[in-house]
Amino acid sequence: MGVHDASTPRLKMAGICKRFGPTVALGGVDLEARAGEAHALIGENGAGKSTLMKVLSGAYQADSGEMWIDGTVYQPRNPLDGRERGVAMIYQELSLAQHLSVMENIVLGNEPCSGPFMRWKDIRRIAGEALAHVGLETLPLETRAGALSNAKQQLIEIARSVATGAKILVFDEPTSSLSRQDIDNLFRLIRELKEKDYAIVYISHFLEEIQEITDRFTVLRDGESVGNGVTAEAAINDIITMMVGRDVDDLYPRSPRHIGGRVCETRHVAGAAKPADVSLDLHRGEVVGIAGVVGAGRTEFLRCLFALDPIRSGDVKIASIDGTLTPRRLWNAGVGIISEDRKREGLATALSIADNLTLSSQPFIITSTWQETVCRSWIEALPIKCASPFQAVDDLSGGNQQKVAIARLLHADVDILLLDEPTRGIDVGSKAQIYQLIDELAAGNPEAGVKPKAILVVSSYLPELLGICDRIGVMCKGKLGPLKAVGDVDEHSIMLEATGAGADEPKDGREG
């Protein structure tokens, strides 16, 4: 690991503030990254990491605060400006032009030209050199970018950044869609880049990765930098405490639950590609969790169960429905689902809270008075922070958006709730409220005549599953293992099972 003179940091950000209307996204953030080091930026979703990086890249302008690169003031007006000063972003979602060749992608926006004509010879040379930097010398330059794997595309993005003269590379969740082998490759490359004196800002939810690859870290919470230090000297637990800022045990309330009759039964369910074999029982008054790594087939199983994707084989009995399952019949029978992808599937974000909330169960004639009455009660009960029920869902924060999605299920008065990553991308406060709500729904209220509900949760965040569930099953490569009582499992045993009996390193401490 390169240790360099630290008198002038490669990048220095001081007192960065950014507001969006009344919301304070960043309230004075400091960050220093030195040449030749990898600096981890840690924080929960919504802590302000992406906003900070957008300020760094020039996509946003800070309201106040200053930035320096190598000691000179840096004030990017737009991302192009940022790129010219040597700041390059490697995003989670790949940003290559899928139909263009590898070499065209590398020089895109910086094509060497004589007048209007591309100098293909120079392009080949530049692209070849850039690929050599990332260990892809053998890749034919004409390959179409879209034909490459995610991991290779990511390397080409890095190559592009190096070719355009970047000095600061920002990696935003680079490993989320990579296999262990690809991750090792990436880390080898990052170490090489460190030795070549690049400054690296590394954002990840995986604390083990951060310990493996970064030298120092900064923790963000609610838009403020709450701690920093040398990675090797910090314990994971201390970092988590800094991130969360509260005692985690209070997050998960647990009322006495009374297990009732069976409401859902699946036997050897298999979908088109995934899942492969899922058998489970779900009863009233219990919360069942499905753990597993990304891509294990958990979302696909819920989609099969909700008739959004076809079932190839196996039996499903749910909520006493006879015959073919359709989403409409499931809603009518008292089954509701929350999608893992709020923006693309869960909510019609351009429509109002009222429209979204009532979409699954509407009378034939709809008046705004009816919508208002219905929504008011849920807005107060959850509570959803909004100006009016007719506000667009777009205007709400992630947590409040998710509560709208949950309110849709409550309004439809469902008995069986299928929740796919119910707390993904929302703040801790909203999470706590959702955990409490799940507990109340599972416990029911016999005195008020509210029956307990059955809840099936898919989540990648293990502490959450362990906190709210009664039984947990682990899915691995499309197969669901036996459901076990929550007292009989821990994070370690679950990760062991999720990754195929210890073939992979366990990965806990992952956020939403």
């Binding site: 019949r329 999608s339 019609a348 429209d355």
Partner: protein
């Protein structure tokens, strides 16, 4: 409070534009423009585009588009003219009740539009076989009528039977492959125009709309001013346009179907997740929308007094422009009937205003184009501010 005012103004954007355009021509055109006759002309000019645009509003809100409106209108004029010349009036019933004839013509036109709508809707959701079934049904009708010369009341049920049989057979056997509505209606834009020419025998179909078997009928009066003493009231077509607008507006705002159109246009995946039958909603949307185009075709026939396969070339663009000026988004999920009405009126005020000012046709076209781009630009700025 301030936010509320800004919101109201931004919502009323198209209306403000309408007032502005109207005020501009009212002050430039002087008393030539500011008279009832001119207003009435503007309404008259607006009716056909306006009615088709009501339907197109639904399609665009649902996230689709219809490029074949003009061709549907042309085909409907020919279909009605051919029905006319089949001496349908010979039948005993119509002899006794001549009012049935214009009603039949209207129903025929609207039904043809609805059939085209089902073809487009089915293709868009991927039931190619169903689209083919409807086309087959229509072809059987045409062939039995003009080839075998069977009476119409036999041809229509047989056509429906043939199409219906294929409809139910192929739901089992043909795989779903959704097509983009732009492509489907671009194809129909060409084929439907060709079909109109084929049905018309390559030329205009002349008929005498004023009477059937010596008895006066009122189909031609739909597009004639109503004279009450010295007063001139707008033609019945204008009233139909108004009533239809109210009905569609209520449907979009207050019925489940209307809300589902918005939901499907805004986010199809969400709609599916919430148990909405997306395919059915889309097909119904196209059916209702292009039935409107069928009605516009009936009015065009009443206006021309003949079946003209080359009429309404370019109308589809005026229709889309009306909807877009009215604030609808081509991405779906946004739009409304009020806006579309205003959009149609703006286009026609510019048209009539330029005529009154003695400006040439090209001025009107340039101005209309500028208004379309300006309207959408303002809309985008508005949305950006909202973020």
């Amino acid at each position: 409070m301030k936010e509320k005012i800004v919101k109201t103004i931004s919502k009323a954007g198209p209306f403000i534009a309408l007032l502005f355009v109207f005020g501009l021509f009212a002050s430039l055109g002087g008393s030539d423009f500011r008279q009832w006759g001119t207003m009435n002309d503007i309404l008259m000019l607006s009716v056909i585009v306006g009615i088709a645009a009501l339907g197109a509003t639904l399609v665009i809100i649902s996230g689709g588009i219809d490029l074949s409106v003009g061709c549907t209108i042309a085909a409907v004029t020919v279909v009605i003219a051919r029905m006319f010349n089949m001496r349908l009036g010979d039948s005993y019933l119509i002899e006794q009740f001549p009012i049935l004839w214009p009603l039949c013509a209207m129903a025929g036109g609207v039904a043809f539009g609805a059939a085209v709508g089902v073809v487009i809707g089915s293709s868009v959701v991927g039931h190619i076989g169903r689209a083919a079934a409807v086309i087959l049904g229509l072809l059987v009708m045409v062939w039995l009528r003009s080839g075998a010369d069977w009476p119409l009341f036999v041809c229509i049920p047989l056509g429906i039977l043939a199409g219906g049989a294929l409809w139910f057979l192929n739901t089992i056997s043909i795989k779903k492959t959704p097509l983009p509505p732009f492509i489907v209606t671009l194809g129909l834009w060409a084929s439907l125009r060709g079909t109109a020419k084929w049905l018309a025998g390559g030329t205009s179909v002349y008929v005498d709309v004023s009477e059937v078997n010596g008895k006066a009928i009122w189909l031609n009066t739909i597009m004639r001013d109503i004279k009450v003493g010295d007063m001139i009231l707008p033609m019945p077509g204008v009233w139909m346009w108004g009533l239809l607008a109210v009905a569609m507006g209520l449907m979009l705002k207050y019925t489940r179907f209307g809300r589902h159109i918005y939901a499907v246009g805004s986010n199809e995946n969400t709609a599916r997740l919430c148990g909405i039958n997306v395919e059915k909603t889309k097909i119904l949307t196209y059916l209702v929308a292009i039935a409107c185009a069928g009605l516009a075709g009936v009015l065009r026939f009443a206006w021309l007094g003949m079946g003209d396969p080359t009429t309404d070339i370019g109308t589809e663009l005026l229709v889309i422009a009306s909807v877009v000026i009215g604030g609808a988004s081509l991405n779906g999920g946004v739009g409304g009937i009020g806006g579309t009405l205003v959009g149609t009126l703006i286009i026609m005020i510019v048209y009539k205003g330029c005529t009154v000012l003695g400006l040439q046709n090209f001025v009107q076209e340039i101005v209309t184009g500028a208004i379309i781009v300006a309207a959408v630009t303002l809309d985008q700025i508005r949305h950006k501010k909202a973020d």
